[in-house]
Amino acid sequence: MGHSHNTIAFHQDKCDGCGECMTVCAGAKSGTADTLHSRLKIVPSIAANDSFELALCRQCGDPKCVLNCPSGSLTKNHKTGVVPWDAEKCVDCLLCTVGCAYGGITYNAAAGHVMKCDMCDGDPACVKSCPTGALEYNRSAEIYNNYGELEDLFVPGLAACQGCNSELLIRHTMRKIGSNAVVATPPGCIAGMGTVGFNGKTGSKIPVFHPLLTNTASMLAGAKRYYNRIGRDVTMVALAGDGGTVDAGFQSLSGAAERGEQMLYICVDNEGYMNTGMQRSGSTSFGSWTSTTPVGETLHGKTQDAKNMPVIMMMHNCEYVATASLAFMDDYYEKLDKALAAAKRGMAYLHVYSPCPTGWRIPSESTNEVCRKAVETNFVTLWEFAPDEGLRFTHSTDDPLPVEEYLNLSGKYRHLDDAQLTHIENSVERKVAFLNGFMLATSDDGAESLAQ
């Protein structure tokens, strides 16, 4: 399997042309402040006034410089992704510079040979020096590189609606958890799309079952206790919807958390009974259209706020609680790691906000955009909580976009009037303020902030 590699990204809109990156590069690579020796160049844009462009090696996957090089001094390192230049082998023919369309390898007359970026062994000095954030070291495809070769434990093909990102969640989660596990998927979309299977055919390569809508955590707890009794370390995982978690399944989950039952419980929250026909749940947000909170002459969607389940779980003797969004997969993976470790000690709870293209009336291709906007507007906040470490935001809640930018993406909010919008804005602010207060009171970061 191939690998994808990290890159240096350039945000043109943030670059003010200060040239600090070039100074630092020259210093780091040639021991001089003379930007002539810099391996990247910031140059005024020809296309637009007052903007700048970056000339820098792209570390191409199919590098023309390497192709042109007759001496073998340029090669592609497929492990690191970098195209290193070997001075010993270079014959100074400059054919490489002819091949490169990006100005990524150029002749330095003062040095008497070509120069190019080597990414500073994965810790580029230019990126660290950039005062405006125009340069960014992109750690890309780590999930693919690290987990792509793990076995896919889910069926090929499935019956989910187009645009549903639950498949993404199931495949990634199962790969990460591995086969020494028991997976519970109560009635809902995840079971309905074929995870447990139909008529004697299974949908997964690992033990998987339908609990009742109401008893997911209890069934897993019973199985786990017995495996502990006979000395087998088997991971228990729930992939449940919000109805089976915040409503009908709440008591069994609450009891299991209170008792410290060892499992990873993942709630995939699409804010309603979407598999059953898009009815309201306790997790449906204020103002939402659902088939049981319809929009008509007198009623205009749900009249109550959603139950804040992850916050409730924080108060439940859990070893780890976190929220996640699949638009932030790296964040999800880090939390999955922590949750799996915590599930060996007790209850680990992940609450994944998961838009429903069908029930929310959103175009199937915009699921991830909706996910991302939810976070960027603070409608959804990403955080994690552990009893010893308190609460920590994993995505800043400072400077959010207006919540309308999120609401406007979903048809289920199309009917909102000004009063409803104001209610939502206020409740988003209140929720963030509450979490901030909790963060300040519980975490070391918060304690430091309080001290200042």
Binding site: S179, N199, A221, K224, R225, V234
Partner: protein, 408 residues
């Protein structure tokens, strides 16, 4: 008191039915016991908890947050391979109903005591069999005990019946709240080694498991119009019905083996008391049977040719055994401690009517309803039952149902 080991007599203790059940659990060695307290079952789970605390029972005790989770954790444990036990009754049983109903369909050999209690509503915490009778169509095996000793013995036998590969069904051992739960008598305790030998190794999840070593999908959606859907679903139903019918044989064999090993003999399905030369009989279920037998003895002394039929196994319904018994008499009176609202009679009466239909000759029958909400069914009540039942032979018919305690 001489040491049992020295006298070579079976060890005996004096206890009530709930403690006897706890001793049976101790002897059956389950891996997991999940409990939630409810009157009149509470002292049973307290005894079990104390036995576990004392190390008498080497089981995981799960004190969960309600009966719904009680049955659910047992599902998980049983699917992982555990031998499991619990007890409940009344509103707790109703709360457990969702996972309870699911248990036999997954063919999980879970054993559960029902310490019977009258139903809601009016609110009542006292004995009655309304709760257990509500379970008739859930597909569990249901056995009703008459005595404290029978509670202990039946509960141990239940594990063997449930785990028998021809059965693989959950078993309810029902003992009457108040009468058996708190009634104190001398009870013989079987030897642990003999019980171990009698029950053998646990065998709970060979057919369905949540085990990474044997990955499978447990209870996927079945039926509908997909390929093989209807026939697959029908096969599950047929298998369940076959398991129930097999249970009639297995229950009988298990009781025979119990008698051989432990010397105590019980009628496994239908007990006949002084029936051979009887003209008519009263039919009883559960702890009332003792008072019923006394009343029969009294009536016999007065020259009445009356006997008693006790229904011990109610699910599966022992149709053949009952039919054979009923052919011996010419009139019956059935005493229930619960009500079939739809049929305006007792549920045992209602079902025995179905058995009567299979007799060559029609015989008259009366439904008596007594002992509701902890009220007594005394010798005097049974005297009334016997008299009215016998009067049918002379054509003096009584309209059903007769409410035995309605003027008390």
């Amino acid at each position: 008191m001489p040491d049992a080991a020295l006298t070579n007599e079976p060890k005996s203790i004096v206890c009530d039915g709930n403690e006897a059940a706890a001793w049976a659990v101790s002897l059956a060695k389950p891996d997991m016991v999940a409990v939630y307290p409810i009157t009149p079952q509470s002292s049973l789970v307290e005894y079990v908890s104390q036995f576990i605390a004392d190390g008498k029972i080497d089981a995981d005790l799960m004190d969960v947050e309600g009966e719904h989770s009680v049955m659910s954790v047992l599902h998980g444990a049983c699917l992982a391979g555990a031998r499991t036990y619990t007890a409940t009754c009344g509103p707790g049983l109703y709360y457990m109903f969702e996972p309870y109903v699911r248990t036999p369909g997954m063919r999980l050999p879970i054993v559960m005591s029902v310490v019977t209690r009258d139903g809601l509503t009016p609110q009542s915490v006292w004995g009655g069999q309304q709760d257990a009778m509500m379970l008739r169509e859930t597909g569990w095996i249901q056995i009703y005990c008459e005595s404290v000793q029978e509670v202990l013995d039946s509960l141990i036998m239940a594990f063997r019946i449930a785990e028998h590969r021809d059965v693989m069904l959950p078993v309810n051992i029902c003992h009457d709240g108040n009468y058996l739960s708190y009634g104190v008598t001398k009870v013989f305790l079987p030897e642990q080694e003999m019980v171990d030998d009698f029950l053998g190794d646990k065998d709970t999840n060979w057919h369905v498991a949540l085990d990474p070593d044997r990955p499978m999908s447990v209870d996927p959606l079945t039926g509908g119009e997909g390929p093989g859907g209807p026939s697959t679903f029908v096969r599950y139903r047929q298998g369940h019905c076959a398991g129930m019918q097999n249970a009639l044989r297995v229950i009988t064999e298990t009781h025979e083996e119990w008698e051989r090993k432990f010397g105590r003999c019980y009628a496994p399905l239908i007990e006949e008391y002084r029936l051979d030369d009887a003209d008519y009989a009263i039919v009883t279920i559960g702890s009332m049977s003792g008072a019923g037998k006394d009343a029969v003895d009294v009536a016999r002394e007065q020259g009445q040719k009356v006997g008693l039929i006790r229904v011990k196994t109610f699910r599966p319904f022992p149709m053949e055994a009952l039919r054979n018994t009923l052919t011996k008499v010419k009139a019956i009176g059935v005493v229930d401690r619960s009500v079939s609202f739809a049929w305006n009679c007792g549920p045992v009466f209602q079902e025995i009517q179905a058995a009567l239909y299979q007799l060559k000759e029609r015989i008259p029958a009366i439904s008596f309803i007594g002992g509701l909400a902890g009220s007594d069914i005394t010798g005097e009540h049974f005297a009334r039952v016997i008299e009215a039942t016998g009067n049918q032979l002379a054509g003096d018919m009584t309209e059903s149902p007769v409410w035995l305690n309605e003027n008390e």
